[in-house]
């Protein structure tokens, strides 16, 4: 059988490129807060980097809490079958 074709993310270099592009985009978006004045309704919104920090911390806590919830909620796959 012929050697399987290499796909785009098989090369670690491509994955690294994608990640660095992504990090750059994040940095640019955060930097936008220096330049652009967001029109806000709520006080918290006007805090520097509010949305970025909120998005990051919300997701980290979401995942870490969910991970702990597994201790309470997780059961074997055939739990209901017996």
């Amino acid at each position: 059988m012929a050697q399987e074709r290499q796909h785009i993310f098989d090369k670690p270099k491509n994955v690294r490129r994608l990640l660095w592009t992504f990090y750059l985009a994040c940095a640019l978006l955060l930097a936008a807060d220096f330049i652009y004045h967001r029109h806000v309704i709520h006080d918290w919104e006007s805090l520097w980097g509010f949305y970025a920090l909120f998005g990051f911390s919300a997701c980290v806590s979401l995942v870490l809490i969910a991970k702990q919830l597994r201790r309470i909620l997780m059961r074997p796959e055939n739990y209901y079958d017996e």
Partner: protein
Amino acid sequence: MTSSVPPFVVFFAAALLAAMLPGRSRIIVLVLAPLVSGFQLIEVPEGLRVTVPVMGYELTPYRVDRLSLLFGYVFNLAAFLGIVFSLHVRDRWQHVAGLFYAGSAVGAVLAGDLVTFFVFWEIAAISSAVLIWARRTPASLAAGLRYLVIQFSSGLLLLAGMLIRFHETGSLSFDYIGLAGVSGWLLFLAFGIKCAFPLLHNWMTDAYPEATPTGAVFLSAFTTKAAVYALARGFPGTDLLIYIGALMTCFPIFYAVIENDLRRVLSYSIINQLGFMVCGVGIGTALAINGAVSHAFSHVIYKGLLFMAMGAVLHMTGKIKGTELGGLYKTMPITTGLCIVGACSISAFPLFSGFVSKSMVMAAALQEGYKGIWLALLLASAGVFHHAGIKIPFFAFFASDSGIRIREPPWNMLLAMAVAAVLCVFIGVYPWLLYSLLPFPVAYSPYTGTHVIAQLQLLFFAALAFAWLKLSGLYPPEIRAVNIDAEWVYRRLAPRALRRAMGAALALHLRLQMGFLRRLGTVIGTLFLYYGPQGILARTWATGSMVLWVVILLGIYLIAYYY
């Protein structure tokens, strides 16, 4: 003039035809049904009410206003997408059930009175259960039964609420209801079950993942959105809905992160998205209702797209668990791309449909001063991106290579997904058409610099959190397991308790029986002692002693008589 034919008639007639016609001609009927019905809806004049006297009561089986019309449009669209997606299916009954289901959903939102609404509510329950059973596995059979029981209990509450309401007000019309009185609460609960209120939600996360790959696409569109319609019709501005909605957006995201079955992840994210709509209905301002309704519209399409993408994966690989999939982008690049469009839409990326609809609800929450609610919705927005936007495409198509090399799905599946994807982008890029169909005039503009930058910051940094957790190994791995949810009460606790109660009853019964038998044995023994062959009373007695006893008795009698 044909424009007076209610759409459900078109669907039901097509369903009956599809039940009889063979292969090719059935496909024509299937595709034509939503087109003809949709055309009827475009032609129909707004404000139309068709009333029919039935046994002395005036029923309104067909009412057209802006609210019902919008849901009618999107249900037709969903029916069309679902039908095209399932054209390859060789199972006639799935097609028939799909048509009945779509027809009853369209019928329900266009119903002007509660009786008609109830009838469609029940037809939808039965026909949708067929789409679960059609998978023909023991798991789907059981899940379908549980599903149907809960759907019927919603129907019963609706029936009871309707009858009490008729008794109280003398009216059957389906307009503003409100939480006043028993009937209001019964109807609220009936809609709440179908809208997957917290703790009443499990029928969905239990049954949808067990449906056929194509059936789940139908299921994701109709039942819950018909419930959103019912709430928007009957309970706009009900404060309680704001808090219920916020809870609905937040709790499923935790489950979705640790769930392995990717269609169950999508089911949890339906609840999350419904939460935004319920919240909007609860806030009840023009902006909020517009947001709720337009979000329902875009949701039906992008959620359908995501269910189609996962259905295509399940159809082609036979697998749907995160642990078993990965690396599919290598041989399914088109499906991958279309799935990512759905993922971007549900995550509300600018230029995709979720962005222009969800934000109206959030803006309304802020405007009305619900700061806590707004924060909860913001958390849920980041959360939905996390599980539906990243997790679904990542674990199915990228992640670690599962070694599965499978072709793209059949052309009809690709076509349906492509149409849905185009609609997602169209609504996102050009929201004004959707806005012009909303119940209230729209003064909202989604594409302001603030909104775009804020949303991009939120989403990119949520993605950054995912990347960091994944790269640092903190991200919880996919595990083959089930997570217990409220269904635990009726799938584990109740059966266990019942079994234990039955066991205790049986033990008591046995003890009583044993005790009775022992007592009976003693009685029989005693009787045997006195009356048995050797018993004192069974002995033969001498004639002389008998005569003596008779004389004594007669003597006593004589003395007694003398006195």
